[in-house]
């Protein structure tokens, strides 16, 4: 869909632009990542409001996580999360084997060190969405082989 291209390109530019500015200034890597995450947070909050306007109340945390994996992820990335695991004590692992924002980059180990920059926004997105659903969380991402990520 054409909209997706726009978003992918915009996201790529945002990451590049932020790092460009950081190089000229005094920024460290950490600050850029947190800026990206904060942007994602705001967007996530807004998005989840619009998506859940008409849906029923969620029964529990697991229900919310399933919503994120299915509906939310589908609306944002046009596919569902491939794998959801939990230890039933508050830790959830979402695995996406063909993460949209990474497919264009590489299909193996190349550019692995750049992957976190591209995941920061999405981490913020999830955190923002959860926060507006009443859940405080910490979201981290891990990439071992592109384009899969957890």
């Amino acid at each position: 869909m054409a909209d997706e291209t726009l978003f992918l390109l915009l996201h790529g530019e945002i990451v590049a632009g932020l790092y460009r500015a950081a190089e000229q200034g005094d920024g460290e890597n950490g600050r850029c990542i947190s800026k990206l995450e904060n942007m994602g947070f705001r967007v996530g909050q807004g998005l989840i409001e619009r998506f859940t306007k008409d849906t029923a109340r969620f029964k529990d945390e697991l229900d919310i996580m399933k919503f994120i994996c299915k509906d939310f992820w589908t609306t944002v990335f046009k596919k569902q999360i491939d794998n959801l695991r939990t230890n039933h004590q508050g830790i959830y692992v979402l695995q996406d084997n063909k993460f949209r924002l990474l497919t264009q980059m590489s299909a193996g180990k190349q550019y692995l060190e750049h992957a976190p920059k591209y995941l920061a926004f999405t981490c913020g997105l999830i955190r923002g969405g959860l926060s507006n659903l009443g859940i405080k969380s910490i979201v981290t991402a891990e990439v071992s082989t592109m384009p899969a990520c957890k």
């Binding site: 291209t5 915009l10 530019e13 590049a16 967007v43």
Partner: protein
Amino acid sequence: SRELFVLTYGALVAQLCKDYEKDEDVNTCLDRMGYGIGIRLIEDFLARSAVKKCRSYSETADMIAQVAFKMYLGVTPSVSCSSAAGNEFSLILDKNPLVDFVEELPAERASLCYCNLLCGVIRGALEMVHLSAEVTFLQDKLKGDAVTEIGIVFLKNIEDKKHKRN
């Protein structure tokens, strides 16, 4: 979905406003990012639309308004030619989806061109098909004008350029 794009754009502008004090810096930054997007977007556009080469500036302006804007933003601006030489055009947007969630510009940001990204995108895309142009905002609904108007001034002659893009 488009909402994701619009919301992300809003977050980006907000972040830029935090990072840069001057409106002109934010505008420049948005334009530069738009340029980076435009040079890549044109390939996607050509692949999706498979249009033939445009034979005149007016065809190009029409293409941007009727096909590209519709494809990516879902709106069709109207095109008008604003110079006798035939190289200046205006795209007039009644509805600008990028500002769907924006009510008004804050007072201290009066000269912020919220949608400057669009200018950069058009400029970058045109450059990739060997047309250089200046693209600016002539009117902006967010600043109180009646409509949003983007002006495109083509700078070089299209017939002189030979390029092998199909």
